[in-house]
């Protein structure tokens, strides 16, 4: 039986950690003396005190985590932290509703990039920094970060780690100790982030902009400090940097860690999932750029290639930047891009969606069934990267897909019920559950989620959480078996 209080004690610690992360935007606020300086002082204080209080009050209940506590902890953490993350937004932006603030924080934290705010350029710098910084933290996972730097989780850490990182095959530990693994992942993440930061600066962004866009690129989130997003610069160089780092972040950071340990890139090159990811993205870019040229959307092929590369990569990696209103393209192109966003990124990356490896497993499983019809005696387990995948994993992937489909349908129906049109409702759900960000129609790249009603916003918020924690980890909390023991 899980004891909620023991978990609350740990969530308290997570909140304290979170208040420390708030020091980053606070520092921006203090140095620039912007309008949100006060808001961040208050919210950092409130967050720290609440966290300390939570963990002190439940101190007696602390004990070693059981595997099952992991799901509660992850679920609770991901519900509570966006609330604290919304606090400074609420204080700093006059007239922002609680719903929109929580939505915005959740969108940042799950690295979705859907925004309900407009007039971004007029917001205080520290608020924009905070929005983006949440993406950097949430992208790889705050619990992974906690495992890496806090000795709080004990043996149950591995379970937590699994609940938060994405992908169906989570058994491979990179190092004997899970904390070491988490630290390795964050180190790699940090190093690539620093590279990204300087590349943006070199390509022509200001220092604060480079920092913010580094955060939202690495987390594959998609927040920007400008309403025009990348259209603000209209610079091929900046777009190129974004494309490179989005593609880098779409690959499992664990693989970079291994490659770095082995001092060789072959582990990346030989990985089926990485290959499929790159292949699918490149093929789609080729297809759409030709399609757009044929339809005469852009004057020449070069122009259409530039826009296609940026947008396909941005949507396929579930980032969601826009430099141009791609909703004006013939519907086939943006729909294909959004479809790609559902599965293109690799497990273990900061991207959302089904993940390429699940897609590969399903394809291979289907092919396997076809072969089985012709050759009844054949033994052909699904093989990925030279190892047979156990039927258990395949079953869980199929269950995942069922739940995924059901969730999409259910959430879309809810939005339709609330009065949205089909395209908006469907793409909004896809964009949220896959943590992409912008959809089409009323939630397209040129408009935002600000026009949705409170109810619709809550549906989208839930979709983002569901997608980020990969459905089953959230839904298991709603099963009676889980609580019965």
């Amino acid at each position: 039986m899980t004891s909620p209080l023991a978990v609350v004690a740990l969530v308290g610690r997570m909140v304290v950690l979170f208040s420390l992360l708030m020091l980053v935007p606070l520092a921006f606020g203090l140095t620039g003396h912007d309008a949100a300086e006060h808001a961040f002082l208050v919210s950092t204080g409130v967050t720290f005190l609440s966290g300390a209080l939570m963990s002190l009050a439940t101190r007696r209940f602390r004990r070693e985590l059981q595997p099952r506590d992991g799901f509660v902890l992850v679920g609770l953490t991901w519900l509570v932290l966006p609330a604290f993350g919304a606090l400074p937004l609420l204080l700093a932006i006059p007239g922002l509703s609680v719903t929109d603030a929580y939505f915005e924080a959740m969108s940042g934290f799950t690295a979705t990039g859907a925004t309900a705010l407009s007039g971004l350029d007029a917001l205080p710098l520290s608020v924009n920094v905070w929005r983006c910084f949440m993406m950097l933290i949430g992208g790889l996972g705050i619990i992974v970060l906690a495992v890496a730097i806090l000795p709080l989780l004990g043996v149950g850490g591995a379970q937590l780690f699994k609940a938060e990182t994405a992908g169906p095959l989570k058994d491979a530990k990179l190092t004997p100790r899970i904390a070491e693994t988490a630290r390795g992942l964050w180190t790699v993440y940090f190093v690539v982030s620093v590279l990204c930061f300087f590349s943006y600066r070199a390509a022509g962004m200001s220092w604060p902009d480079a920092f913010m866009h580094m955060c939202s690129t690495m987390g594959l989130g998609g927040f920007s400090s400008h309403d025009l997003s990348f259209g603000y610069w209209n610079s091929p160089a900046i777009e190129a940097v974004a494309v490179v780092f989005m593609m880098l972040s779409g690959v499992s950071f664990a693989l970079y860690f291994v490659a770095w340990k082995q001092r060789s890139l072959s582990v990346l090159w030989n990985n089926v999932e990485v290959r499929a990811f790159y292949l699918v993205v490149i093929a789609t870019v080729a297809l759409i750029s030709i399609y757009l040229t044929v339809h005469g959307v852009y004057p020449d092929f070069q122009e259409s290639l530039r826009h296609t590369v940026f947008h396909v990569v941005s949507i396929a990696t579930t980032t969601g930047y826009a430099s141009y209103d791609y909703a004006k393209w013939p519907l086939f192109a943006p729909l294909l891009m959004i479809l790609l966003g559902c599965f293109a990124t690799c497990a273990g990356s900061t991207g959302g969606g089904i993940k390429m490896v699940r897609m590969l497993l399903l394809l291979k499983q289907s092919y396997r069934e076809l072969v089985r019809i012709v050759h009844p005696n054949v033994v052909n387990p699904v093989v990925i990267g030279g190892a047979a995948v156990s039927p258990r994993v395949i079953q869980s992937v199929i269950a995942y897909m069922m739940v995924y489909g059901a969730s999409l349908v259910a959430l879309t129906m809810l939005l339709l019920f609330s009065g949205l049109d089909v395209v908006t409702a469907f793409t909004a759900v896809i964009a949220c559950v896959n943590n992409i960000g912008p959809g089409l129609g009323d939630v397209g790249p040129s408009v935002n989620y600000g026009g949705l009603s409170d109810f619709q916003i809550w549906v989208c918020t839930f979709g983002m959480l569901l997608g980020r924690l990969e459905l089953l980890a959230v839904l298991v909390l709603f099963t009676p078996q889980f609580w019965r023991g």
Partner: protein, 471 residues
């Protein structure tokens, strides 16, 4: 020579058998005394029961005076350690180890004297695999053996009605196949009673359908020689392998890019392992290789080559008979018991392959004295083909500087080809199909066909350089 053999398994037994017959003193070490007694009863050798990696056991087996250790215990690790002990404790000059894992190459630092001190690694699975691969490359041949680093090949082929050379006498053949030099070294014919006879190969011998013919030719001419002996077969495209053991897997892995491979294996977890080792195009089927329904659903009638490679002789024979009956183009059975192999070769079963024999060739080259480069057992050990290097000059050597017809060769033995390194403007190898007046020069590689094993020693002696040459 004093030879210690570790392990009285199938390989150990056949090695012992062929070495005993060549007047070597053999001691076999094995943990199973019962097994040793059986061997002692059958062959003239000594058995020492015990664990061969223990110095005391090796000592008891006479390791102090041994000239050679051949370690062919079932486990790689036993063989490695045994060689190390033999080398470090007893200074045995030559150590040979059977290593199954491909991760211990012969020339690696692990095999040096500082490492496990193995002079030669032999791998029966590898020999078998390359043997079978040759058959896939030349589907008409029964056996293809290479000499002198691949420049010369000995081909065994069954003559069939309709081949251009068939029903001609050997002396007519040069006109039939112009510009190809070849030498018929032996022809075996089965009489009405089912007994094999070797025919004398001279100009007047007529090739009849059904004859098993051994031809030596330069490797680049193999194709044309085969075409002359029988109509060309379709290339092998579909291969069915019954038995996914070590040999089956190795072979499947090597040919999966060129052929469509189906592997039948009865053990489910082994099947799953196979699928992870092979491309997804190769089909792994779980089932019994003698299950005719399975063979039928998998279209055995369309297979070009059916290979029965399980560890069970009877299963292999039955599977092959079944596959042949159901329409497989060619079938090959792996048969460990020599009696069975002789029984079925050339019947319904096209090729009977005896694994021990393929290894022994490799081994024999090390055991033999003189300058023997390569030795192959033919017809399951009855005959032999060997490649010897001629050294010295007319005074010190019995072969150098002499015409072929001056050599005191035992009757039936034939010099089939000579590979000579020519130092002209550039260095190249020339294949000479010798005539009675060809003169052997020093450093020639001479390929000799020996119809009976007991003649081997005479040939070896012939090529030995007399002591005077050394000083």
């Amino acid at each position: 020579m004093n030879i210690i053999i570790l392990g009285a398994g199938r390989v150990g037994e056949s090695v012992a058998e062929s070495l005993v017959s060549e007047k070597n003193d053999i001691t076999v070490i094995d943990t199973n005394p019962q097994r040793l007694r059986e061997l002692e009863d059958r062959l003239d050798l000594r058995g020492v029961p015990g664990n061969g990696i223990q110095p005391s056991v090796l000592e008891a087996a006479g390791a102090r005076d041994a000239d050679m250790l051949i370690a062919c215990a079932p486990l790689d690790e036993t063989n490695l350690v045994c060689c190390k002990v033999a080398h470090d404790v007893f200074n045995i000059p030559t150590t040979i180890a059977r290593i199954r894992s491909p991760e211990f190459p012969n020339d690696g630092p692990l095999m040096s004297n500082e490492g496990f001190a193995v002079d030669q690694v032999i791998c029966p699975e590898e020999s078998l695999t390359s043997y079978i691969r040759k058959l896939i490359e030349y589907p008409e041949a029964l056996q293809v053996l290479e000499f002198a680093r691949g420049t010369v090949s000995l081909i065994a082929v069954r003559a069939v009605t309709g081949g251009p050379m068939v029903r001609h006498v050997i002396s007519e053949l040069p006109q039939l196949v112009p510009n190809v030099e070849m030498r018929f070294v032996a022809i075996y014919r089965t009489d009405e009673l089912g007994q094999d006879h070797q025919l004398v190969c001279d100009g007047t011998t007529r090739i009849e359908p059904g004859d098993e013919v051994f031809v030596l030719a330069a490797t680049r001419d193999i194709r044309r020689v085969l075409d002359a002996l029988r109509r060309r077969d379709e290339p092998v495209r579909r291969v069915m392998i019954a038995g996914g053991g070590r040999v089956g897997l190795r072979l499947a892995r090597e040919i999966q890019d060129d052929c469509h491979v189906k592997v039948i294996e009865s053990n489910l977890s082994r099947c799953e392992y196979l699928t992870t080792q092979l491309h997804s195009e190769a089909l792994v089927l779980q089932g019994d290789s003698t299950d005719e329904e399975l063979l039928e659903t998998e279209n055995v009638q369309d297979t070009d080559l059916f290979l029965a490679l399980t560890s069970d002789d009877e299963d292999n024979i039955m599977a092959c008979l079944l596959a042949k009956r159901m329409g497989a183009r060619r079938v090959l059975a792996l048969i460990n018991r020599r009696a069975y192999a002789d029984l079925v070769q050339g019947t319904q079963i096209d090729i009977a392959l005896s694994p021990a024999q393929t290894v022994i060739g490799e081994l024999l080259a090390y055991v033999r004295r003189g300058d023997v480069e390569a030795v192959y057992s033919l017809r399951r050990g009855a005959a032999e083909a060997l490649e010897a290097v001629a050294h010295g000059d007319r005074k010190s050597s019995k072969v150098v500087g002499r015409r072929i017809d001056e050599l005191p060769l035992p009757s039936g033995a034939q010099i089939g080809a000579i590979v000579r390194t020519i130092h002209d403007a550039e260095v190249y190898q020339r294949v000479i199909i010798p005539h009675h007046d060809t003169v052997i020069e020093t450093d020639d590689h001479v390929i000799v066909f020996v119809p009976r094993k007991r003649m081997v020693r005479e040939i070896e002696k012939l090529f030995q350089v007399s002591a005077t040459f050394m000083f």
